[in-house]
């Protein structure tokens, strides 16, 4: 296993006029690691993904994939470097079947299959993997929210990625629907895939992340193991405001708060539940 991180960003940033949406982010994601990315709305999580995948051009800093400088490369170049992403707002290709949606990635991704038959066959395999096998022949418009998110997942997996960036693939899902997605991430992890998970569902972040990156106002607030990060006072403050942080600290001094959603973060239960709604993120 190489020592070169699969993804490295150096001083990565982008300005929109006077707003620094992402500001000077240094990050290294070693091969096989799952990185969770959290942060309040507008913290720059989606913008960060857009910068890494070429959908936005950074105004400063560098993006290196496997040590190769891909700063400002076009999205299709990045896709061919086996870096795949999902979109927070699902973007199915309407007018094609679910199977064909995935086959597009098989044909145009790094594998570049030219023949329809094998591409559709491979698409079916990917759909099986995400649990959408039965919906292969349907039109994306007929899918439920959960299945539409799975399709988004499948379209990314069609690229056989080595680095997968998931932008809130669990947003809007019911608790029972989250578990299969988590299992899928665990499976991919077991195969050695490097994954970046942007998520508001704290339970999900905790369940799969090796490291958690906290973004706030575009900046890297903290990076560390999930439990350390979620109990950090500056993180709580960024999420819930300083009043809540003070109250929480006081309460914790008295007695530990039991968490209502099983397995959720020790100190951030309310935040995870409250911000699950899809929100127009920066």
């Amino acid at each position: 296993m190489s020592a070169t991180p699969v993804l490295e960003t150096r001083g990565l940033g982008i300005r929109f006029g006077g707003l620094k949406a992402v500001d000077d982010v240094d990050l290294q994601v070693p091969e096989g690691q799952t990185l969770g990315v959290i942060g309040p709305n507008g913290a720059g999580k989606s913008t960060f993904i857009n910068l890494v995948t070429g959908h936005l051009r950074p105004t400063s800093g560098q993006v290196l994939v496997d040590g190769q400088d891909l700063t400002g490369a076009k999205p299709w170049v990045i896709a061919k470097a086996r870096v795949a992403r999902t979109f927070q707002i699902v973007k199915p290709f309407r007018g094609m079947t679910v199977r064909e949606n995935v086959a597009v990635g098989v044909m145009y991704g790094p594998d570049g299959m030219t023949r329809m038959g094998p591409a559709l066959h491979r698409a079916d395999e990917v759909l099986e993997q995400v649990g959408l096998g039965a919906a292969a022949g349907r039109s994306p418009g007929e899918l439920s929210v959960a299945d539409a998110r799975r399709l988004e997942f499948a379209k990314a997996l069609a690229l056989s990625p080595r680095l997968l960036l998931l932008d809130e693939v669990m947003a809007g899902l019911r608790p029972g629907e989250i578990e299969p997605s988590l299992q899928l991430i665990r499976d991919l992890k077991a195969q050695g895939m490097t994954i970046i998970v942007v998520e508001h569902v704290m339970k999900a972040i905790l369940a799969v992340s090796d490291q958690v990156l906290v973004l706030n106002a575009g900046q890297r607030l903290m990076l560390g193991p999930p439990r350390d990060v979620l109990s950090d006072p500056t993180v709580i403050e960024a999420y819930l405001g300083h009043k809540y942080a003070a109250r929480q600290a006081a309460a914790q001094a008295a007695q530990p708060t039991p968490s209502p959603s099983a397995g959720a973060a020790p100190t951030l239960p309310a935040a995870s539940a409250g911000s699950e709604e899809v929100s127009p993120d920066a």
């Binding site: 995948t53 070429g54 959908h55 076009k74 999205p75 299709w76 896709a79 061919k80 795949a84 992403r85 979109f87 973007k91 199915p92 290709f93 309407r94 007018g95 094609m96 064909e100 086959a103 597009v104 990635g105 044909m107 145009y108 991704g109 790094p110 570049g112 030219t114 329809m116 591409a119 379209k155 990314a156 069609a158 690229l159």
Partner: protein, 333 residues
């Protein structure tokens, strides 16, 4: 329920039907009067134009409102080559197509960065501007007074083809456009076009070079339109900038594709044939108000079948619901 066909035949029957239709069109010529030959030849011309527009406007979703620029350019290149350089039409024809394609790529690189209405307006502007350039190069193009191609006697670089000849050329061009569309629609490339139409970011994210794909498609569409324009110029003998760069031609292409079903193989063909027949029939039977009636019918068609005839039939067959009212509700509300 759809009739059950073996998978192999489901693949083959459209090709078989296409070949039969083209063969039938060749045969049809022998059954027509001379005047009808010309009318049907014009229908083939519009079939070819609608199919060409459909590549960029239908599949890719970039509504080119300046498509006539390729038509005009093709026509004027052929006119200039035949008149000044005494080229044979058969040589001028492909060269006209290639130059139109080159022009498409050239204007496509900046214009295809624009989306939606902006692209439409920008292409319209390019077409108008190009017409002005052509008008203002009288030595080459004859300017506003028009240019007459040498088609008779010893001066003719290629002997005039006559109604029968142009019928065949337009038929071959329509068949070529049909072949290109059929190939595109079933290929990897066609999927890229549809993906771009739906969502360009998502298309780029799965590895589609959206810029290159769009420019190539615009050039291809320009190539085919240029061939048709070249043939039209030869058929008309004397051409004028207002005729060859007439916005109405673009509008007809758009209307034919939209009514027939954009982004389908069959839609533009049905749209072109239907609209030409209808327009001809109305002209003969309601001489004074035919344009009014045609307009009213187009409006009704767009309201009732906003997705076009072919797409409507496809969806209706799948849902088992042929109600037009339900269709309107589905698309308007």
């Amino acid at each position: 329920m759809a009739p059950t066909l073996s998978p192999a035949w489901r693949q083959r029957w459209p090709w078989a039907a296409g070949i039969l239709a083209v063969a039938a069109a060749f045969g049809l010529q022998t059954q027509l009067y001379s005047g009808q030959v010309r009318t049907v030849g014009t229908i083939f011309m519009f079939v070819a134009l609608a199919l060409s527009w459909n590549l960029i406007g239908g599949y890719t979703g970039y509504a080119s409102f300046g498509q006539v620029v390729f038509f005009g350019l093709g026509g004027y290149v052929t006119a200039a080559l035949m008149t000044h350089a005494h080229w044979s039409f058969w040589l001028a024809l492909p060269v006209s197509g290639l130059l139109a394609a080159g022009y498409g790529a050239l204007i496509g690189i900046p214009l295809l960065r624009l989306r939606g209405h902006y692209f439409a307006v920008a292409t319209l502007g390019v077409a108008e501007g190009t017409r002005e350039i052509v008008t203002n190069l009288p030595d080459l193009t004859g300017g506003g007074g028009g240019i007459t191609l040498p088609t008779v006697g010893a001066a003719a670089s290629t002997k005039y083809l006559g109604n029968d000849g142009f019928y065949l050329v337009f038929l071959v061009l329509a068949a070529l456009c049909l072949l290109v569309t059929a190939l595109v629609s079933r290929s990897k490339f066609g999927f890229a076009l549809r993906a771009i139409h739906q969502d360009e970011d998502a298309a780029a994210a799965v590895g589609i070079n959206t810029t290159r794909t769009k420019v190539l498609t615009f050039a291809l569409s320009g190539f085919l339109t240029g061939l048709v324009g070249a043939t039209y110029a030869f058929q008309q003998v004397t051409i004028y900038p207002e005729r060859l760069f007439d916005v109405e031609l673009t509008v007809l292409m758009v209307v034919m594709v939209v009514i027939g079903g954009s982004g389908t193989v069959l839609g533009p063909i049905l749209g072109a044939i239907g609209l030409q027949f209808l327009s001809e029939w109305l002209r003969q039977n309601y001489t004074t108000i035919h344009t009014l009636l045609l307009g009213a019918i187009i409006i009704a068609a767009v309201i009732l079948l906003p997705q076009g005839l072919v797409n409507y039939l496809r969806e209706a067959r799948r849902n088992g619901d042929y109600s037009l009212l339900a269709n309107v509700r589905r698309y308007r509300l």
